[in-house]
């Protein structure tokens, strides 16, 4: 009995407090963004704020269940959980319901359920399980291919649902693999792809080529131990080729609406008339969201006082654009607070992961941190125009039951694993 009580106090309360801070503050903003009329009805199960309140209460049940299950269960049954998740993703392609162009939902009478939100946790468990296997060495190419497959299968299934945003989330596992020993060359390639891609779109192929040559020359001549001359030449040639590929893809392959999003993001369009048109169409949400955030100023207009929120100027404000409500009503103080709490939460998870004695727990913890980080970066970045428009929710904040539960399970499995680290002998 004594042992049982002790174990409750081993849960990391900092993580739990940060979790409830985000969920609670998130709900206040959903309330503001979705209420209509003057009276508030918390339990009419119609308005998003009322539904979200129910989702939050049910998530508490979910937490209790997640924490009650034995920690070993998650490691032992990770493969089973993963396969169930994959089956549910295949199933949704067949039986699913299409909302906003994505076939990501099971329709269960009065409510809908999005399996993709749970697949993240399942994939995290599977990756952790595979990497922590004694026979796995991530430095081996064969093992790299296998772990890539574990990640890619759910990612592709989600892409087939036409949910590009959620697919991108699976890129977060790169951080996990890198931490566990994935060769540096992958990091270099990833960085090059991003840098060359942005340079090409913004400044064109010629300038990109010049920058690539200069950088490689500087790198070559500053190294004391000179690598073979062929290596830098190879890098330059590949970079230039890639630059052409990016240009071709941008002009001929990418669909128009995504091209426009990139154009808005990198400020490629200079014609004011064209810009004005874009603001009315493809960049409408972003424009309204930026305006709402900036109209909040330092102190904000106050809870339930946001004129743009009340007037529903920002479409999808209670889901993907919830951060703009924070910006308008709580001002810089509120937005800075939210950013700070997210950063603290992610760093806390990272810190706990590094303390784990079992590799499984550490890899899983890393996955949790990476997934939170990617969501946080893409969502808030998008709402402020720092990242091209990619529709994914702000974890624990945006309206949606599946999303909230998916993140709750994702996080609390780790809280459970962490609480068990004392027994990992």
């Amino acid at each position: 009995m004594l042992r049982e009580t002790d174990r409750h106090f081993k849960f990391d309360w900092i993580t739990i407090i940060l979790f409830f801070l985000l969920v609670g503050f998130g709900w206040l903003n959903i309330l503001s963004a979705s209420h209509t009329g003057t009276t508030l009805e918390y339990f009419n199960f119609q308005d998003p704020y009322s539904k979200q309140l129910v989702f939050i209460l049910l998530s508490v049940v979910l937490i209790i269940v997640t924490l009650s299950i034995d920690a070993k269960f998650y490691e032992r049954f990770s493969s089973v959980i993963y396969i169930i998740a994959l089956l549910s993703l295949v199933g949704v392609l067949i039986f699913g319901k299409t909302i906003n162009g994505s076939t990501s939902w099971y329709s269960l009478g009065i409510m809908t359920f999005q399996p993709g939100e749970f697949a993240k946790a399942a994939t995290g468990l599977a990756v952790a399980k595979y990497i922590s296997d004694l026979h796995t060495d991530i430095k081996h190419f064969k093992d790299q291919i296998r772990v890539f497959a574990i990640i890619a299968i759910p990612a592709i299934l989600i892409l087939l649902q036409n949910d590009t945003g959620s697919t991108l989330v699976y890129a977060s596992f790169f951080f996990v693999l890198y931490r566990e020993g994935l060769p540096k060359v992958y990091l270099i390639i990833a960085m090059l792809v991003i840098i060359i891609g942005m340079l090409t779109l913004k400044f064109g192929i010629l300038i990109t080529t010049i920058i690539a040559i200069i950088s490689v020359l500087v790198y070559y001549f500053t190294r004391r131990k000179k690598p073979a001359i062929l290596q830098p030449i190879f890098i330059v040639v590949v970079s230039i080729l890639f630059s052409f590929v990016v240009r071709y893809a941008y002009n001929n392959i990418i669909p128009f609406h995504q091209k426009d999003r990139i154009s808005i993001w990198l400020r490629l369009e200079k014609d004011p008339a064209e810009l004005l048109k874009m603001r009315q169409t493809v960049a409408y949400n972003l424009n309204e969201s930026e305006k709402a955030i900036s109209s909040g100023g330092f102190y904000g207009k106050g809870f339930l006082e946001g004129t743009r929120t009340t007037g529903k100027f920002v479409p999808e404000q209670h889901t993907d654009y919830i951060f703009s409500t924070v910006g308008e009503e709580w001002g810089f103080i509120g937005t800075f607070g939210v950013v700070l709490v997210f950063v603290l939460l992610i760093i806390r998870i990272l810190h706990l992961s590094e303390l784990q004695k079992s590799q499984f727990s550490r890899v899983y913890g890393y996955s949790v941190a990476s997934i939170f980080f990617i969501h946080f970066m893409i969502n808030i970045g998008m709402v402020m125009g720092l990242i091209p428009t990619i529709g994914i929710p702000l974890p624990l904040f945006s309206y949606g039951g599946s999303g909230l539960w998916g993140f709750t399970i994702l996080l609390f499995i780790f809280v459970k694993l962490d609480s068990n680290r004392i027994n990992e002998w």
Binding site: G296, R308, T310, K312, F313, G327, G331, F332, L350
Partner: protein, 642 residues
């Protein structure tokens, strides 16, 4: 190192977000204002504009409703332009032009699309307005002039322009503002204060409801009614007498400084500047650069004052004690100074004292006294400054600090003024024309009327003003505080006596009115214009100043009639009739009235434009015209209402 990649990424992204948020919310934010928030619709309620009454409580200006079609370009949806244009009575091209103009101004702020619909058009349009998104009807009130008099006094209201909106944020596109006259000078009193309603909109521009339950809404404050000092009957009579003439008249009540009449001829019917016809008529008046009907001659007309100025020369000489009222000066058909000569119409050898010099308007007498004033201390430079200071104490050379929308300071020279022309030596003979009101001195009719009021009051005047009272408000003290001149009271007696003699047996003896002791002074002023680059003399201006009754002044008047030749020919007759009209209410000198109604100066005004050589003064012939029946009917109509 590997475990730090994600940690560093998180920290960098956190800092980047903070920086971006700081930029959006603190650095580039110019503070929140409800008025700039386009999520909040601002609906203005226009108050009733104050009425204008004359000094006897007769209603002069009231209101009539009017409807403007407004447009917010951003909200305009495709519509049946053909039907819409028909309803508004415009063509398709105008439709496009007006919409483009509104877009140029602002996409999200309302602009006037069609202003001032007729009541009939409004009735039809109102039913169908719902169909045209982005357009709405704004009710405003227009002016309704009860009579046709006083266009220059009352002024008019018109739409604000961009400059006004930039200057004063109270005004929004399409608002009306006083443009001239009392409408302009009492704008803030008359207009009241707009009420405003804040309404929360959604992104489809639909109204959701009052913002914060209307906490910030205000109700309109109605404009205040004003009573002006004008005597409408006198004003109407003066305007009738000024038919076919150009010039300005100001009549003051000396005991208060109240303006009894302010006439500028030619004038126009104020109703011409109301509603949709305003811009067309205004343009027509504005571009009439020959008759200049919008130019308020009684306030803005700067003329050389001529002989009435001799009154001031005389009184300053008395104050400076350079002459005794009974001292006689001989006139030799003029005044010789150095090798030059100033002509006079006196019989050679006539000897004048002050009274008879005024009565006969002797040039030689006043040239002589002027020189004595300047040379009093043997230094004309300090002498002219002293002279100038005395004149300025009568309100000359300044705007008079009154409540009229326009004015001119005129010109009273001092030593400084002459320093360019005479940098070194300066003698009193250089400026001797000033003695008789020609040369460098220049005044407006209102300034001259004010001088007469000061003489009538024997030494002080009240700032001429047009406001008599404001409903539920007071008028400034400055209008009831006397302004004292630098002249002692006793010196006025010989001057007043001289003016009295002008009517008794002098230059205006044939203008007498039975039962009223009038004091007056004629003036005849040379004037010039430029025709094809050549300085050309025109027929003299006819000027007259007067006050009455002599011992208890009720009215002081200055009349300027352009190119009317000598003082009593036109101006004197008008002055006498107006004095009689004001004091008695009826006219006994119908002969003078009849003469004025049947004599025109239009032939005189046509001369400079004719392109032919023309004669002036003695070579002119009086133009006789039949009495303008229509003008008389209008006059009688007006009189009935007053």
């Amino acid at each position: 190192m590997r475990q730090f990649l994600l940690f560093i990424s998180v920290v960098i992204v956190g800092l980047l977000f903070t920086a971006r948020l700081f930029y959006l919310q603190v650095y580039s934010s110019d503070g929140y204002s409800l008025f700039d928030d386009n999520a909040i619709r601002k609906v203005y309620n226009y108050p009733k504009r104050g009425f204008v009454y004359d000094r006897n409580g007769k209603l002069l200006v009231a209101n009539q409703p009017s409807y403007d079609v407004m447009v917010i370009p951003r909200e305009v949806k495709p519509l049946d332009t053909l039907e819409f244009c028909q309803l508004l009575k415009i063509d398709n091209e105008q439709f496009k032009k007006r919409l483009d103009k509104a877009k140029n101004y602002s996409f999200r702020l309302p602009s006037v699309f069609v202003s001032q619909l007729s009541k009939e058009d409004y009735a039809i349009l109102q039913e169908k307005m719902r169909k045209y998104e982005g357009f709405y009807i704004q009710r405003r009130s227009l002016r309704q002039y009860e009579t046709t008099i006083g266009a220059n006094v009352l002024g008019d209201i018109g739409e604000v322009n961009y400059a006004i909106i930039d200057d004063d944020p109270y005004y929004k596109m399409g608002d009306l503002i006083g443009k001239q006259g009392v409408e302009s000078s009492y704008e803030t009193v008359l207009r009241g204060k707009k009420g405003i309603q804040f309404i929360q909109k959604d992104r489809f521009n639909r109204n959701i409801g009052p913002y914060k339950n209307g906490t910030y809404d205000t109700i309109p404050e109605p404009g205040k009614d004003i009573k002006i000092t004008i005597d409408a009957k006198l004003q109407a009579y003066g305007e009738l007498l000024m038919q076919n003439k150009r010039g300005g008249i100001i009549a003051l009540e000396p005991q208060t400084g109240e303006i009894l009449a302010m006439i500028s001829a030619p004038t126009y019917d104020p109703n011409a500047l109301v509603g949709r016809k305003r811009s067309k008529n205004f343009t027509k008046l504005y571009y009439d650069t020959i008759a200049k009907p919008l130019f308020n001659r009684s306030l803005q007309g700067v003329y050389e004052p001529g002989s009435p100025f001799k009154l001031l020369t005389g009184i300053i000489a008395l104050q400076e004690a350079v002459i005794d009222p009974s001292e006689k000066i001989t006139c030799y058909r003029g005044y010789k100074y150095g090798n030059r000569f100033m002509k006079c119409h006196c019989v050679s050898g006539t000897r004048h004292d002050m009274v008879s010099a005024i009565e006969n308007s002797c040039n030689a007498y006043f040239a002589s006294t002027y020189r004595r004033i300047l040379d009093k201390n043997g230094n004309a430079s300090t002498g002219i400054d002293r002279w100038s200071t005395h004149l300025k104490s009568f309100g000359l050379g300044s705007y008079l600090n009154n409540d009229l929308s326009v004015g001119q300071p005129g010109r009273i020279p001092d030593r400084e003024y002459y320093s360019k022309i005479y940098p070194n030596t300066f003698y009193s003979t250089y400026t001797i024309s000033n003695a008789i009101g020609q040369g460098e001195v220049a005044t407006t009719p209102i300034q001259l009327a004010n001088v007469v009021a000061a003489i009538a009051n024997r030494g002080h005047y009240f700032t001429p003003h047009i406001i008599k009272s404001i409903t539920k408000d007071t008028i400034p003290d400055k209008y009831s505080t006397p302004n004292y001149t630098t002249i002692d009271k006793k010196h006025f007696d010989p001057i007043v006596e001289g003016m009295y003699q002008v009517y008794k047996k002098g230059t205006a003896s044939y203008l007498k009115v039975d039962g009223i002791d009038i004091c007056g002074k004629t003036g005849t002023v040379e004037n010039f214009t430029t025709i094809d680059g050549v300085r050309t003399q025109l027929t003299d201006h006819s000027i007259f100043v007067a006050f009455a009754p002599k011992d208890d002044p009720k009215i002081a008047i200055a009349v300027f009639v352009e190119n009317g030749y000598w003082g009593s020919r036109f101006a004197g007759k008008i002055a006498s009739l107006m004095i009689e009209k004001f004091i008695k209410g009826t006219i006994s000198r119908t002969d003078l009235e009849q003469w004025l109604l049947t004599h025109s100066l239009e032939n005189e005004y046509a001369k400079p434009q004719s392109g032919e050589a023309f004669g002036i003064n003695r070579q002119t012939q009086l133009q006789v015209v039949p009495v303008d029946k229509e003008a008389l009917t209008i006059y009688e109509d007006n009189n009935e209402k007053l």
